[in-house]
């Protein structure tokens, strides 16, 4: 494989966890709920995915379980943020801490134990294409799933009535309510589905990317996903681009390690995603002011009487 195909393959592999989590966050935020619990949902998803894979050896079951635990955690956030109208930022951060703590606590006995490892799933014919065939179509199944999720998210938000309702709940819940849209239910659904994707994102790490369980396996990717959502202007396809960019930066690290080619010092490459995340989040308010953030983002909705 030439360098380009190798780098492309690494980029795709490294982007998928953040891509799934970012799509989940896009959905949640388009419905008006900020969920900063990404890191916690991913870690719990990673652990539960690993555990179910370890116990059953069934990858589909492992991913489903990881998604469900992500949904449950997201619903906890939803209870505080949507039902009780609590501060969404605080509730999300609490969820991050809870998920991380819980995963570390439960996973203590499993560190270093080899679990299920989901291998590659080349698509016939396409993967035999010259140059990029193997890099793009010789990936594991989750890469295809994540790309399909992205397209589905774009389609659902922009082309379906449900997506219109989700966006209305995120932009102006009062108006949405006046037009008969079930604001509370829609927000809960979006948050739960978003959590499902985050849980799957975590399982991708522990079953595909770096199989096995270790503490802090997500290494801040949940936060990077949040930054990508803001940077992408709350758009599914934008989030795909952002995730690929993040994946590319990660891939460069592996690439320079593997080839010994140190044009940019490795430590710079390592910190780059985090620096960009911090910068994005610092300017989040300014980016939001450019009118791209959903107008009702972070605002609880109650019917006034």
């Amino acid at each position: 494989m030439n360098d380009f195909a190798f780098l492309l393959s690494l980029t795709l592999k490294s982007s998928m966890a953040v891509l799934l989590a970012a799509q989940g966050e896009v959905l949640s935020e388009r419905a008006g709920v900020i969920n900063l619990g990404q890191e916690g949902m991913m870690l719990m998803g990673a652990f539960i995915g690993y555990l179910v894979g370890y116990l059953t050896g069934n990858a589909a079951l492992a991913f489903a379980a990881a998604g469900l635990v992500g949904s449950l955690l997201a619903l906890l956030h939803g209870f505080f943020a949507i039902r009780l109208g609590a501060n969404q930022l605080l509730s999300g951060i609490a969820l991050s801490i809870l998920g991380a703590g819980l995963a570390n606590f439960m996973g203590r006995g499993f560190i270093g134990k080899p679990g299920l490892r989901v291998g590659e799933w080349p698509i016939p014919v396409l993967s035999d294409l010259p140059m990029v065939g193997k890099a793009v179509f010789g990936q594991n199944a989750l890469v295809y799933v994540a790309v399909l999720v992205t397209v589905a998210m774009w389609f659902a938000l922009s082309r379906t009535r449900w997506g219109l309702t989700v966006r209305a709940c995120g932009e102006n819940p009062t108006a949405a309510d006046a037009m008969g849209a079930p604001v509370i239910r829609t927000r809960f659904t979006a948050v739960a589905l978003g959590g499902f994707l985050s849980g799957m994102a975590g399982a991708y790490l522990s079953l595909v990317f770096t199989p096995g369980w270790k503490e802090g396996i997500s290494a801040g990717q949940g936060w990077i996903a949040v930054a990508i959502v803001i940077f992408s202007g709350w758009r599914p396809l934008g989030a795909l681009a952002g995730s690929l960019f993040f994946g590319f930066l990660s891939a460069l690290q592996f690439f320079s390690q593997a080839t010994g080619n140190n044009v940019v010092p490795l430590y710079i490459l390592r910190i780059l995603p985090y620096v960009l995340t911090i910068l994005t989040l610092s300017f989040a308010a300014a980016l939001g002011r450019r009118g791209r953030a959903p107008a009702g983002l972070g605002k609880p909705f109650f019917r006034e009487h």
């Binding site: 082309r159 009535r161 966006r167 932009e171 009062t174 008969g180």
Partner: protein, 499 residues
């Protein structure tokens, strides 16, 4: 059976306030019905009942003869009764078509092209001139209103209710809106619009119902109304209902003088202009007018909350130019705003907190607030003003409107101001609370001149020594309350007639 919507004997109570008291009106298809009344007269409550937002305590709604119960606005709309709120219910980031689609429901997949075609068709038929592909945030207020109408029509509304439809429109847009209403009438829809503008009711409507203090006081037509003057009289009520003891107070020196005062609103179109008024200690000067004629802005500007562009204010022996007034020291000027729940107080904070809000300097010891003293002062105020409350610790948001108003008055009077500006002090209050408030205002004359801004003529005549009438931002005249001839000129002036 032909289209009509009847409200029969509707009564609605909020706590101690009777918002609607056995009100019956009927809207007919092919007619425009104006619901006229001052702020707080109960118009909005009535229309909220009609559109399904509130349930009446007593009474019933009949749609073409059949009794109906609307449990929500969506339910009312499903039966063909829709409301255009003063604050438009549109998603700004969406296009017109997306907004209509959101309200209209339909297949799971969006078909915005088909929706756009339907919108164009309705838009042409009713002369609404709406472009389905434009995002709402790029539309003017008038255009947004037409989108709201379009939305209702798309959902099959046959009865359309408008809450103060012209309040956010420019004069050209208003003309446009009138055209739309006439088209709707021609198409057989029933239209009800809430307004406090007399001209509109007379020019546009086929029937006029007048609400005052929650009761239907008159039911008429533009032809029978006897002109603007008579309509104004019916709307604000002229008769003095309550005789309250008004001890004579010797007028003292002049405490406030306004000369050529202009301001409020945007600089190109000031809300009031060329206002000349003088106020002496010991007197009550009422500024009356139909809502929206600049009196609110005038009071706010005096409190330093709205901009002044020209003229001067003389206060406490110093003459301040218009632009310098906002920053001038106003310790001796007390202000009680119209919105006592949100502007005059912080509902979540305790009564003590609220009491201290405008009295911080008096209750500060070094860097610390004197909470004990503050609570004590609040307790005394509760006693002296007979405020019904659990105690100084109770959140002020839990107080009834009358008790809250008394707390605000107690607070402002404790500052011993030389000028007291009050806006609509008894709006929404019951009779008992109103009388208490009136007594406090009369007592304030001991040390202050009182500027009373009110839309309630009864209140003005009960309390004031002189009544200034404001119309379209100008003071049309000042009447001496002791002279019946001058008092008789107040109503016409409120309708803009100068004699």
């Amino acid at each position: 059976m032909s289209l009509n919507l009847e409200l029969v004997n509707i009564t609605k109570r909020f706590g101690p306030t009777l918002a609607n008291d056995h009100v019956s009106i009927t809207a007919h298809g092919g007619e425009i019905h104006a619901l006229l009344g001052e702020n707080g007269a109960g118009k909005s409550t009535l229309m909220s009942i009609l559109s399904g937002r509130y349930q009446p305590d007593v009474g019933e709604i009949r749609l073409s003869g059949e009794p109906v119960r609307f449990t929500s606005p969506a339910h009312a709309l499903a039966r063909g009764v829709g409301m255009v709120h003063q604050r438009f219910m549109l998603v700004d980031a969406f296009t017109v078509a997306e907004n209509v689609c959101l309200a209209a429901g339909g297949s799971p997949l969006l078909d915005l092209k088909a929706e756009a075609a339907r919108i164009r068709e309705l838009s042409d038929r009713f002369g609404l001139d709406a472009d389905p592909d434009r995002p709402v945030h790029t539309l003017s207020m008038g255009e947004r209103q037409r989108v709201e109408i379009l939305k209702l029509l798309r959902l099959g509304a046959r009865v359309l209710i408008f809450d103060e439809p012209t309040s956010v429109l420019t004069p050209t847009e208003i003309e446009r809106f009138c055209q739309v209403l006439k088209t709707l009438r021609q198409e057989g829809r029933a239209i009800v619009f809430i307004t406090h503008k007399l001209e509109e009711a007379l020019e546009l409507s086929d029937r006029i119902s007048i609400l005052r203090r929650g009761r239907l006081v008159a039911h008429t037509t533009p032809a029978e109304a006897g002109g603007k003057r008579n309509l104004a009289r019916m709307m604000v009520g002229r008769e003095v209902i309550f005789a309250i003891d008004k001890p004579a107070v010797e007028p003292g020196p002049e405490v406030l003088r306004l000369e050529g005062l202009t301001g409020g609103g945007d600089p190109a179109r000031p809300a009031f202009s060329g206002v000349d008024l003088a106020l002496r200690r010991g007197e009550v000067l009422a500024v009356v007018g139909v809502a929206g004629n600049g009196q609110t802005e005038l009071a706010e500007a005096l409190a330093g909350l709205a901009p002044l562009t020209a003229g001067s204010v003389s206060f406490e022996g110093a003459r301040h130019e218009a632009k310098a007034w906002a920053a001038a020291p106003k310790d001796a000027l007390a202000y009680v705003p119209e919105d006592r729940h949100h502007e005059g107080s912080v509902p979540e904070l305790s009564m003590t907190h609220n009491y201290l809000l405008t009295r911080l300097s008096a209750f500060t010891r070094g860097l610390l607030l004197d909470w004990t003293g503050g609570a004590e002062a609040t307790r005394k105020a509760i006693e002296r003003f007979a405020i019904k409350a659990e105690g100084p610790h109770q959140p002020s948001g839990e107080l009834s409107g009358g008790n809250l108003q008394k707390l605000l008055l107690a607070r402002e009077l404790s500052r011993l101001p030389s000028v007291l500006v009050v806006q609509q002090p008894t709006q929404g209050l019951d009779i008992g609370a109103s009388e208490d408030v009136w007594k406090s205002l009369l007592e304030a004359r001991e040390h202050a001149g009182v500027l009373l801004v009110t839309g309630d003529l009864t209140e003005a005549l009960t309390l004031a020594d002189r009544v200034a009438v404001i119309f379209a931002g100008r003071i049309l005249g000042v009447a001496d309350v002791s002279d019946p001839d001058q008092v008789a000129r107040i109503s016409p002036m409120m309708a803009g007639v100068r004699q």
